[in-house]
Amino acid sequence: MLQAWVIASVSFAYLGVLFAIAYYGDKRADAGRSIIANPTIYALSLAVYCTTWTFYGSVGRAASTGIGFLPIYLGPTLMAGLWWFVMLKIIRISKANRITSIADFVSSRYGKSQLLGGLVTIIAVIGIVPYISLQLKAVSNSFTILLHYPDIVMPARAAAQPLLQDSALYIALILAAFTILFGTRHLDATERHEGMVAAIAFESLVKLLAFVAVGIFVTFFLYDGFGDIFDRAELVPKLKALMTVDDTGASYGSWWSLTFLSMLSIMFLPRQFQISVVENVNERHLARAIWLFPLYLLLINIFVLPIAVGGLLRFPDGSVDADTFVLTLPMAEQQELLALLVYIGGLSAGTGMVIVETIALSTMVCNDLVMPVLLRWKSLRLHEEHDLSGLLLSIRRWAIAAILLLGYVYFRAAGEAYALVGIGLISFAAVAQFAPAIIGGIYWKGGTREGAIAGLVAGFAVWIYTLLLPSFAKSGWLSLDFIKEGLFSIGLLKPQQLFGLTGLGEIPHSLFWSMLANIGCYVAVSLRRRPDVVETGQATLFVDAFRHTEGEQRSRFWRGSAQVQDLLPLIGRFLGPERAREAFLAYARRRGVGTIDQLEANADLVHYAEALLAGAIGGASARVMVASVVKEEPLGIDEVMNILDEASQVRAYSKQLEQKSRELEAATAELRAANERLKELDRMKDDFISTVTHELRTPLTSIRAFSEILLEDPKTNLANRRKFLAIIVKETERLTRLINQVLDMAKIESGNAEWHTADIDLQEVIEETLAATSTLFADKRISLEKHLAADLPRVRADRDRLIQVMLNLLSNAVKFCEEDSGRVTVRLSAESGVARVDVEDNGTGIAEADQATIFEKFRQVGDTMTAKPQGTGLGLPISRQIVEHFGGRLWVRSSLGKGATFSFTLPFDTGDARQEERRQND
């Protein structure tokens, strides 16, 4: 038996621990040694997303819809993937503009509109109240159930209990007191609560630990692991159905819409905005949260299905509410301590949510709802107060208490009609209404104040009509008739089948219509007019957040005059005079002046003051307050557009410059490359001339020497005379041949060669060449074999040129063959589309390394044993040029000492070649 006082004192002890952590965290923060400047703590604190709704409700939803609980966690996991773009931008914008809440964010974006800030606040409060009531319900239920340990008794309907005996009321009051202690001990210009974040990170660990403990207990102690549980579930038809997704449109629609809804909620729930944006210390912490937070969600969800199935198997008669399985399973097994741990886990989840949510909401209520009204209320004479920081704190404290009591009222009124998950989703759908104004606001400069208001109002109205009112009706506050018959008995106005849209669950249905109305109104109304001066300025700050650094652009949209003596007291009234002096002094030092009096009250200082104030009372109110002491000269829209145009022109100009310099660089690189090519060509030309000179000088040497010999000594004997004259003639021929070939080569290379193209019978050409070279063969007694395919198609080529090629190949073959034993084989054959000629010899062969070289000009590969081969070194290069001119290929296959085969191909005449020629000749 667990006594009430035991449970109560454990509860208070736990809350005390949380408070101690928070207190320590604040102390450390004041000392400048933050304990939350740590990405893991940031990621853990984000798990404030997991409330009692996760802790108890997931199992409840899994027990009725199987894996239908998953989209709520799938959405945030998907969204985490986008954080690096969306969340980072929101964080950067918020830091640059000292945004303190989601209402502040929206109102700042649309020209610091007080109306918009108030509207967002109202939507947030109304939307979140059911969610808070859900925490109260869960905590109070778990308290009641635990109280009856070891019996398992479902809590009676809350309404049936007298008010003063209702544990939920006391829980609400205790939480209110606790939150006030946590969040409003003092006023901070940055609206950050380091201690609270530390406590939240701790409670995230506690609830995870408690849930996993139950999961392990159920899975591995009650049953034999995951396999065992699911095997047992297979045997029960009702449970088997839980393991599958219905293959219906509504089922998928529900999955998609719940995933989408939770994607938006993880960004825009006031407490998530508070933790992930306002409390963020360092935007780099986001990088770890992107994977650690989804991992947390995975861990806390692993045991949901086993616990749900285990509960359904353990309590088959349906007497126990599935929402309580997490607690009732350990109780049924007499696990007293585990049950207590679960209760603490649930309390932890509920407390964490309530604290952060109400702090966030109270900031919004104070800054965006109450203060603007009070400041306008001239008879209150607030303008004359010297220190308003106390007033601000008490407004927040009252707001916290009021919000929690509202939650309690909703709990009394509607709580029992819905399961935990149902209530949570209603809140999600309300918060989703912020998405168009925020997402649109950070990516689209065209959104206007009226557009944002219209979208929010339309979406929120549809939400009230399709979700909130039906939830009231179901709990008996309203007649059910308008659900069944439609408003005024008009069928098309049935709140859950609006305009005849059926087949969707209530949440997807509401989400569809509210988003349609919201986005439609936001875009349509925004497009009706051009954003004004202030809106344009803010839009630029928000949309181009990644482009500007803090403060670079803000002061450019403001012109006016101010006095430091006016600004300082103004800030002092809200932050306290001491804090204001410190802030101004810090600013002065950053500017390089020693005292506040030396500060120049320029646009930058005015904006600094406004930002300071915005931290305390929100952007919209801060603007009003600063405007009251500063003489502003309004800027015309044209002037603002000019400033913006100027900026964009400068940007465009610098882009052009960059472009030009890139082009220049590219051109320089090209020039350099071209120059290198030219140099290379020059070197090649140089080499060519040097080589030609060498080749010309060599025969000239012999000719001159013998001519001089003969000239000097006319009486040279006859045999010598004949020998010398023969050499002179031979060398002269060599000289002539060389000159001809150099000219030939030059003509072919420059494209000036004359080609007499005709249809050629290759066989005939080969026979003719062989006939012409027969004496060469005979002189060295080299045998000749020929295998010439007859009747091949003709090729288009220059007959004389082909003879030149054949002569070159044949004389080369003869040249490198041994006398007597030499053998040359000539083959003509057809390959696919081409004629192929091979000239094979059994001569000295060509080393692999030299095979490419021999086709270069003047690169003979000599028989090194005796002497340089005869010839000019131009035969093969010219032959290759000729063959390639007619679309063929010339190559060699050989290895040293084993002869060589020179082969070339020429395409058969198909008619195309002739057309091509005609085209070229034209």
């Binding site: 040097s690 060498h694 000239l700 012999s702 020497a705 050499i727 002497a867």
Partner: protein, 123 residues
Amino acid sequence: MTKRILIVDDEPNIVVSLEFLMKREGFEVAVAMDGEAALKSVEEKTPDLVLLDIMLPKKNGFEVCQTIRANPELQAVKIVMLTAKGRDTEVAKGTALGADAYMTKPFSTKDLIAQVRQILGES
């Protein structure tokens, strides 16, 4: 005593003309057709003067010149380089490697003979 001249060139007709000229002038003549043969010939019987072509198979004239100059026993050997490449850099290279004279092809037979005689100290 008859001076010995080694003719090193891979062009047979040039060898024929040089051989005829040198013999006519009364020198003893040896012939090598590539760089390695030239070095071998120098080793077998040291010539008084080498007529050395540069573009040679196996070892070019520069290498042959360098090898001869590196051998202290062959300090007395005179070297006349003959080449069809007339660029200044090659003349400079030849002289730097220790050639005694450098003649560009085609050369005047009279000049060549005069040069050879002068180098051999016979003029």
